[in-house]
Each structure stands twice: as C-alpha cells, then as structure tokens.
Symmetry: C2
C-alpha cells in the first residue's frame, strides 16, 4: 500500500530554488581569476543560473548531454553546477592538473558538447582544442573585456552568453535518478574512469553531510571549500551551503596560506574542507607570522589521512575542531566522519585523540564492511585490517560507458581499494591503499602508520613508505623522507625514532632522504612514481639478518599472525 | 540518462539497522508503566524488534495491514515502530485521549488487525473491544506477571509473543513510497482522518530534522521526546535518534514537572521536544523548588505557539535554547524551525527575540506560500496574513481511504488551515487557525496575538480569544482568561493591559474569567468548545459605540485594510 505523501524528486535545482526563496540575500563571495573579489547573493546566483540555462538550451544542449568545466572555485563555476544539472544535462568537472593526454581522453570520452574554462587554463585549452574536435564551443569564463587572445575555434565569452538572455525560466521536472554530474577518477592503471552522480545521490549526500556529526552546517555558517570544485564537486559543499543557507566563500586559484588566511578573516569563515597538503601551507604561514583565526572553528580533512601531528596543531594551537572524513570520487565523496560519541566524554584525552585520528564512522546511508583477500568478512575488532567495501545511496555502481566492467563485489558492495580496520564502534582506520600495503612474511604492514610516525619527527616535513621486494620477506618497507631545511637528521636517528612507536617488525629496513616527494594531479603522494624510481633500491648490507628479523617478528601481536 | 549510483530505498528498518551497526551500545531508557526504569541498547532493541517481526508474521500480518498501538513513550512502543513498519505493515498510533466514539471509529476505519496497548489503557480497551470486532487480538504491552485481569477477547501478552520467537530475521526489501505509519488527526468537523506516512517521507523528515538548524542532533545528544509517540510519531524523534545515534529517553506516562525533571537530570538529557502545556508544568516545578537543569540545553516547541513569556523564561532563567517548530499531522510534522540566520547576529536582542517568537523558516524539502480568501498569492512582507499552503516531501496528498476527497489546492499545495504572515526572510508567523480568525469589519484579527498579550500579564495563567457575532462588525473578540490563584485582576484592568500593545481596534470587547480552559485530546485549547459555551454571550452595555470603533479602526495599518 502506497503512503499518501507528496513525491517530490530530490533534485539539484531544488537546492538553489530553496536558497533563493529562504536565503535570497545570503552571500556567495568569490576571489576571481581576473583579480577583484566578487560578491552577490543566492538570489542573483539563481537568476544568472537561469539565464545560463537559457543560453545552454539555445545552443541545443539536450538532456543527459555533458558540459565540461575546467575551473577553480568561483561564482561562474557555481552557476554552471546549477544551470547544467538544472536543465537535465550533466556537468562534467575536469581536473586541470591532469596530464594533457588524460585531459584529451576525458573530454572525448565524456563527449563534452561545450567546455567552460577559467582564464588560468587558456594555454591548456589551446593545446587541448585541436585534440577534441567534438567540442562545439570553448567558453571563457569571463567578460568581453577580459576575452583571452587565444587561437581557439569557436571561442565564446561567458558573459556574452548571459547578456543575450533573461531569467524567465523555470527548471523542468527531473527524474531524481537521472545523471547530474560527472567526475573522472584517475585510476592507478589504465585510463581515467567517469563517476556519474544522480540528482538523488547528490541531494542525499549534501543533506546528510550537513548534519552536526559531519560538516555541521547551518544558516549561521560561512563555508569556504578549499577542496576544488573540479575534484569530486568540492566534497558536495556547493550543494550543501545553499541547502542550509550558509554563506559560501570560493577562493579561486589562490590556495597559498597567505591568500587563504586573508579570505578566512575578511569573510568570517567558520567552516572549511580540504586535503592535508593545503593545511600544511596554511599552518606554516600562520606560524611564521604569529597569526590566529578569528572566526574559523571547524573543518573536515580528507582526501588522504590527516597526519596526527597536523590535527593536533590545528586543534591545540589554532582552536580548530578537525574532523577526519573519508571517501573517494566513487562515494560522492563523504562516506565516514570522525566525530566522537557521547561515551567518549568519559575516556582519557589521549584516547579521544586516537579516535579522532581514525577516519570516522559511516554516515547514515552508508554501510561498510572489511574482507580478507578471499572476500571473507572480517570482524570489526579494530585490529585486523581488510579490504574496505561500502554500499550506500551515494556510492557508484560502475563507471560511465561501462568502463572497467562490473566493478561491484557480490551483494552489490563497492570495493574501495582501501585497506583498513574497523573498531567495534565502527570507526574506520585506513591503513593503506590495497596496492600500497606492504606484504611482509605473509602479513600486512601499514605504510600510512609508518608515514605518520616519520611525519611526527620534528625534523621531517614529508614522508612516504613503500614496499620493495625482499629476498626473504617478499617485501620490506623503505622510508623516503623530506627533512626540514638545515636538518642533519640521518638514517639511523630516524629509524631509532620508530623504536617503541610501532611493532619492531614494522620498522622500515632503510631510509632515503629526498628534496621533495612526487604528487598526483589531485595532490596525493604518488607512490607509483616512487616505486618506479626506487625499483632497483638495494637494501643496505647492514640490514637486519634473517635471524634478527625472525626475532623481531616474535613481537608481532597474535591476532595479526597469518 | 541515469546516474550510476546505488538505489537503496529510504526505509524505516534502515534506521534501526544503522543504529545497531554504528551505535549498538547506545542506550534507550524508558520509564515503564509497570514502575521501574528500563534500559537497553539499540542493538537489543533491534533484536527484540526482529523477534516481534517474526511474531507478527506468525500471526499472518500482511504487507500494508494496520497494527494499532495505544501506548505511551516506551521501549515496547519503540519496538513496534520498527517491527511493524519493518515487515511492510503500517503502525497505526492511536491517541488514547480521544473520546471513546472516536477511538472505536478510528480502529474500525483503519481496520487494525491487532491492537497493542499499555496497561494504563486496559479499562479503555475493555470498553473498546466489543465495538471493534475486526481486531484479532489485543496485546497487553507487558509480561505475564503483569497480565491485566481484563475481560478481553483474545488477550495476549507482548512478552509471551516475543518469548516464542528468536531474532533470526532479515528485514525485507521495501518500496520506499509504501506506507509505514498511520496517524489520525481529529478534524474540527466530521470524523478523524488518517494521515498515511511513507518510508521515504519518514526517513527524509527524520534526516532533515537532525540538521543543526532544526533539532541539532548527533551521537553526543540525549533526546527525550515529551511529545507522545501516539501523536504524529513524537515529531519523528524515535526515527531521528537512531539515525544519528543519540541516546533516547522515553518518559512513559509520567509527564508532570517533577517526574520529567528527575529523568532529565538522571539521564543527562540535552535535547527535547514538546507542546507549550507540558513546559508550563515543568517551569512551575523548577521555580517552586529553585531547581536548574544540569545538561538540558536545547528544545523545539510546537503543536501550538509557544507564548513569548515562556520562551523568555526558558532562555533567560533556565539557559535553554528554545526553537519554535511548526507543522501538523499532515506535515509529519516539522515544516519550519525558528533558528536565526547569520545576519541576525547584528540586530538588537529585542529583534532577535521577535524573530525567535515566529514559527520559523521552511526546512529544505518544504515550500510555503500564503494566499488570500480567493487563493491569490500574497507577498512575503511579514505583515499581511494569509492562508498558509505547503508542499514538500513529507506533506500529505490526502487522507486514508480518500476521506475528505481531493484536499489539495491547485498546483498540488496542501492547505494547512493555518493563517499567518511570512516575512522577507521567510519566517512564518502563525496568527490563527483559519477557523479561529476573528473577522471584524472585513479584516482579520489574530486571536493568537491577543492571547499572547493576555498571557504576558503577570496575573494571567492561560487565555483564549474567540470571535463572537457582533451586530455592527460581524465579529468582535472575546477574551476568556484564567487568573493566578488569589489574583483580583478585573476586566477593565486586563483590557487596559492591551493599550499600546496592539492596535486599538484589535482590543477585545469583553473579558470573562474562568477557572480553567477546555483542551482537546491532543492538548490544544478547544476553541470550538468555547465558541459553543459562549455562543449566547452578550456584549456589555459599556462596549464601544459604533463611533468609537470606527475611530479605533483609523489606527489600523494601511496594508491590513480590505
């Protein structure tokens, strides 16, 4: 028997309509590529989004067709999020940090009808255009005065498109399961694959992430997503902020500590979200200049694990409540959030810190389990690591155009490629990417735990641990570290730092110091590059003997044994 | 083009499954009818709900069939919410405060297969049973030791049902638009009508009401719904608490100030929800005993407007952040919540108070408009009152078995029967029920505003204003008031209190003092009873002359004129 309740589709245009109606004078503030700060309201954003919608329809953009964007976090990008999805087309956010080959592949694979780009990417687009003949027009996200002097076929200016239209437009009824956005994820092997979000998944994700135990957003919040809008929809914040009527601050291309700090202070930012790397720059800048935040009090950090030392610095030195989030492009992305429970009020601060350093517990709407190499479910005991599988309303069932085939495990679970433990309170702790796990003597060593220990050394600024072949143990960990300027820290001193901080048999067998570590287009440590570079690394003659290693393995906790 | 995201139905059993998985050891604490405090966890609740599900299936309860409950807020009622909806049947919560005729009508109209009842209602059920032959069994929500000595056909004890079952049961896949719960609303005329909630509406309502700007619930919260589970699902709290992992405290039948206060303190309650009347008793008890709350900090008040004086007392004397909520059985019920926006930080405290006293702004998922008597949309200017219409994911499209016919207005809007203003920030202020509006000289006088003014008098404990026929003005307001014990406040002194507090032409024409005011089964002031009782009231000889009244009408603000 059917309930007698209205069936209103969960759709992206409902978000901006709500913001217009209920928070029409709340601001959206952007640092522009052209220079000045731009500010307007949700009402004006909605009006311009409707004008853009008319411009898209005039160019015959049809339902389900893809429109590419190569853009920073700014108000025109925000308008595209709503216009494109609002007319039933698919906004395809492209990561401009990818290699030219990948970019061309993605634009062609998505079959983008139009590509909108920020002026910063004009040179990139000039190289891209000849390789993407399917793109009917390249739209510079600027006005006629700033029109780039580029040799581009079918170059159009964004403001010229809008100037030709009025805002007399009503969003059409949309099926909530239809696609609204597309984002490619660069796999470790093969071509990038597209994750196709639906209106329903996007709205449910945005709604759930506003909860007190996740982003904790309301109409008194001022949100600055540092995480880019070209990367997993800026973790949903461009949808979440209008949903609750929070003021939205978009930082453009200036993601250095100084520029960000100025924006945080000038706009009264209270909430943010970003990957660990950007916080490094911010913290350095604050420390070097003896600065403090006036209004900023809460952030979610994800993308890769936030080093415990960084989390402590933000909490203790800067009064920022840091929550760990975990997820990936295929999970929209937020699947877990690291907020304490009531019972944790009674435990020691050191234990509370340990819980916060985990990746958090699943949001309502997401289910999680861990399995061993044979797919057998493992207990949630907080010690045994397994491959992490998720299922949920904002989790992918596969990739655009069927790439990668049937990716789901039996029971419809999505295999995340992450390895972690889950404790009885359901806090996930990621110990590795499955491809980064170090398999030593048939057991798993967590490269992330070793990196965190290295990073906690006061003279280490960045660290990576990779597994390299070893004649006796299959693989053993190699630590690659970046020292602070002027540091004379040496191999033995750094290895001694691990004593008592982890199991003896986990301690890396060798250390290499480098000037910098390689990163991927999305800012993550590129272990693949490191593994290639150190493929022929020779373990030092002084490495532990088989006997020493066997002795060390006796330390191994019983429940970790094969 | 379809998005490639998992389609997991939004369903009631997902809520308890989530609580079991992620908050398995979080407590549900109940004050029982039998006497002692009962405490267990979400995990145990889920286990018992599955056992009950098996018991229901053994009794051949089919999909869509109705199961009645006549029960207070307690753990067995909580189990019924999940068991009945979880197997695809419909939990029909019955308001035991209704008249016997209404109860019999409702049970028969709903065609309840089984009726579960708390021991408090044994006598009631004995009278009801002979009039409800369709009920296959009456289940006393107790154990064999407390089995009532009642002359009931097919009397069964709840614990006996459970004792026969194990918990080896998986909730079936359910269509999210199917019905999960039924609640009758007693209309002002005619028979009660059933509102049929769907799994989807229930989950979306619960999810949205947990937001920071509504109930503000997380895993650190301890929630005590004072509002009964037989009345609009206790405003969704039995669904919201498991969704976020909040501890749930259920107060049973003891809703007096002393019992509630003890439970608030013993269980560390942080959040609550209730109608104004219960807070009256609580405040009196606290004041009389010089008590303060240790942990309680936030509540939503709705059902009827919270008198400003009560809101101020709770905020200023007891440190409780009171939020106004508004809605009705047909809106699940929460449609608006009265939380300030960021811009209100800059306005004077007196203005902030005025905003808090309004009923709040629509939640995302609910759309609102006001119309005049001819259905023409009125501006949201905060001054012009109109009939309030809503549309949203948890708003009814009609009533069970088609009672009342097609109730929606054109465009699919639900007419709430409330009258109010909406300001440019979208805060709704209810000025009346449309049937209670006083139509004086072709314009509307708000009975609620007059009641609030009367209630703000230090010697008035309760007040009602009704419109009675008047030879010249169609209707004029009559104030019916209850004085504090020992007060000698008289008619003229009370009318003088209105001077300067409202427009002159709104001031009531007469006052009657009574010992108590009549209330409906859901605790609301029964103006219908008052209108009947004072039908033949004679306006005093000293009432204003036509000339005085015409003079007073000149005060009327321009935008209120007909």
């Amino acid at each position: 028997m059917d309930g007698l309740m209205m069936r209103i589709p969960l759709s992206v245009p409902e978000l901006i309509r709500h913001a217009d109606r209920c928070h029409g004078d709340t601001e959206v503030v952007s640092r522009t590529i052209e220079g000045p700060i731009h500010r307007y309201t949700y009402r004006e954003a909605h009006r311009r989004a409707r004008r853009l919608a008319r411009a898209l329809l005039r160019r015959k953009v049809g339902r389900g067709e893809r429109i590419g964007t190569l853009a920073w976090n700014g108000y025109r990008h925000f308008e595209l999020y709503y216009s494109v999805s609002g007319i039933g087309a698919v906004v395809h956010t492209i990561n401009p940090r990818l290699f030219a080959d990948q970019l061309a592949y993605i634009v062609n694979h998505a079959d983008d009808q139009l590509v909108f780009f920020d002026l910063s990417f004009t040179t990139l687009v000039e190289k891209l255009a000849p390789r993407c003949p399917g793109v009917a027009a390249w739209v510079a996200m600027t006005d006629a005065a700033h029109r780039p002097a580029a040799t581009l076929p079918n170059l159009v200016c964004y403001e010229d498109l809008l100037a030709a239209e009025d805002d007399d437009y009503e969003w059409p009824d949309l099926d909530e399961t239809s696609a609204c956005a597309l984002c490619y994820t660069s796999g470790t092997t093969g071509n990038p694959r597209g994750v196709l979000y639906s209106h329903r998944s996007t709205v449910l994700h945005a709604l759930t992430t506003c909860l007190p135990d996740v982003l904790n957003l309301g109409a008194q919040s001022v949100v600055l997503p540092i995480v880019p809008m070209f990367h997993v929809n800026a973790w949903g914040l461009p949808y979440a902020a209008p949903l609750v009527g929070a003021k939205l601050v978009l930082p453009g291309a200036a993601l250095d500590g100084k520029s960000l700090y100025a924006l945080f202070e000038d706009e009264g930012v209270t909430h943010s979200a970003g990957v660990p790397t950007v916080w490094l720059g911010m913290i350095d800048y604050l420390k070097a200049n003896g600065l403090r935040f006036s209004t900023f009090r809460e952030t979610i950090i994800g993308g890769s694990a936030c080093p415990p030392a960084m989390m402590r610095t933000l909490r203790e030195d800067f009064g920022v409540d840091v929550k760990h989030g975990w997820g990936m492009t295929e999970t929209s992305p937020i699947a877990t959030a690291g907020v304490l429970k009531r019972k944790h009020a009674k435990v020691a601060e050191v234990d509370r810190t340990a819980i916060r350093e985990k990746q958090g517990r699943p949001l309502f709407g997401v289910e999680m389990k861990i399995v061993d190499a044979d797919g057998r479910e493992l207990p949630h005991d907080g010690t045994r690591p397994g491959n992490v599988l998720v299922r949920g309303s904002w989790v992918a069932t596969g990739y655009f155009r069927g790439e990668g085939g049937d990716v789901l495990a039996s029971g419809g679970w999505f295999p995340t490629g992450d390895v972690g433990t889950v404790d009885p309170d359901q806090y996930l702790q990621i110990t590795d990417r499955s491809k980064d796990v170090i398999k030593s003597g048939g057991e798993w060593i967590s490269s992330i735990e070793l990196e965190n220990i290295a990073f906690s050394h006061p003279e280490v600024t960045e660290a990576a641990v990779i597994g390299l072949p070893h004649p006796k143990w299959d693989e053993r960990p190699l630590l690659i570290a970046v020292r602070k300027a002027g540091s004379t820290l040496d191999r033995n001193a750094l290895l001694a730092w691990f004593d008592g901080r982890t199991a003896r048999w986990w301690i890396p067998d060798d250390v290499v110091f480098v000037d910098e570590l390689p990163h991927t287009a999305t800012g993550k440590l590129s272990k693949r590059t490191l593994r290639e570079r150190f493929r022929d690394h020779r373990w030092p003659a002084s490495t532990r003997t088989a006997e020493e290693a066997a002795d060390a393995r006796a330390d191994q906790p019983r429940d970790m044994r094969a």
